[in-house]
Structure formats: C-alpha cells, structure tokens
Amino acid sequence: MDRIPILRMGEFLLVTIQVDMHDQLALTLQDDLSTKINEISAKGVLIDISALDIVDSFIGRMISMISGLSRILDAETVVVGMQPAVAITLVELGLTLSGVSTALDVERGMKLLRERVRSL
C-alpha cells in the first residue's frame, strides 16, 4: 500500500492509520491531507492512530505538522486512540505533541471537532 485512504464525512476528513508506516507513506499522507483540506474546504480532520503500536519522532513530527498545517488552512485536527504504552514512550522520547488536540476515541474526537467548529 502506498497511500493511506482519506474519507470525507461532511465537512470533516477522517484518516485511520492501520499499517506500520514507513517514512515516505507518512509524508504522502501529509501532502494528501493538505490537498484534500483545501479541495473540500474541510473544517476538521480526525486522525485515528489506535492501530499504531509505536509513534517515533518521525511520525510524531508528522502529526504535529498536519495539525499545524490544517490550522493554517482553517481546519481543526484531533488525534484519537493513542495506546497508553505509545503515550508513555512518546513522552519519554521527548515529544509532547504540544498544540495537537487529542481525544480518547473516535466518538469523543468527533464530538470535540463539532464543538470546535460550532463555536467559531
């Protein structure tokens, strides 16, 4: 697989990462997402990483970049489903994902996105 699918749900985009990503795949996702946000004037992006069993500094940086990028393109990003072991490792690695919104699961993430968009 050389692309991670991006699903559209109204004014939101949904991404579920279900493969062990190599670096190029992460970069492609970043590009695809920014193009798609622009194309449909998306208001929010939800990234589900519950299937990821590690997040290293490269993927961590990708998540921060997507979040920053989408903010500039007038969309909110919420990252959901990070496994506890991944969160512990990420903090110890030195990455805190500051500025990235998170929620425990997809349902709460969608709720957060809707609230954010409504309050604008």
Partner: protein
C-alpha cells in the same frame, strides 16, 4: 550469555519497518511487558532510521541475552558511513545535523537500559542498546 543471535540488513525505509517488526517478536519472546516492548521498538525505529539516513545503510545485529535470572534483547546498529565528529554534541537533545527533531539518539538512549555509541569521522558508527525484562 547469548542464547540466540542473528543479523538484519538495514538499507532502506522498508528495512526500518521490518527491523521494528523483527525486534517486536524478540521482545515478546524474552518476556518484555508491553510498555517496554514499545520503548524498545521505538528506539529501534530511531536508530535504524539513523543507519539509513546518516550511515548510508548498514546492519542490525540482534542477540537474546541472559544474565542470572533476567532475559534481554541486545542490538547493535552499525554502518560504515561518515561517522559522527562530535559524539557529545550528537547526544544533546534538539541537536541535529539533518532536518530532524534531534531526538533520535538521545530519545533512544532514554528508552533503553543500556546504551553505548562508538563513532569517529570516516569510521562509521556503532550503537549498542540493551533492554532487560
């Protein structure tokens, strides 16, 4: 004491993924709990990426080790790349010679129990890590 050992080639991004998967299996085999598996595999991802990007490719030697009652995984990442001129600088949080975050080496060190790095200009780099259960 070494109970089993082997070598994986690390030449491409795909090899980085494969080395993560191989080490995950080894970590499970020697009874590391989930958090420690995750830490070890994350350290592998950082070091294997360094081997590809900065070392121009290399190898990862793996060993299942035993010391008294405890078991562990020991890994050596080695390349014949340009080497690191200033190891002290390279082991500083936030310092990067490329365009990364500068967390690879220092972060990997924090995630394992033992960490050793040997490198000199023109002589490649050799990083040894161990995680005990």
């Amino acid at each position: 004491m070494t109970t089993r050992s082997g070598t994986h080639a690390i030449r491409s991004e795909q090899d980085v993924v494969l080395s993560r998967q191989a080490v995950r299996k080894l970590a499970i085999e020697c009874g590391l709990r989930l958090v420690d598996q995750t830490k070890l595999v994350t350290a592998v991802s950082e070091l294997a990426r360094n081997t590809v990007i900065y070392g121009g490719g290399g190898d990862m030697d793996w060993e299942l080790v035993e010391d008294g009652g405890r078991k562990g995984v020991r890994l050596v990442f080695r390349d014949e790349g340009p080497g690191i001129p200033d190891i002290k600088q390279a082991m500083t949080d936030g310092w990067t010679s490329g365009n990364g975050l500068g967390l690879g080496l220092t972060g990997a060190k924090r995630l394992v129990d033992q960490f050793d790095i040997q490198s000199a200009p023109g002589e490649g780099t050799r990083v040894t890590i161990t995680k005990w259960n």
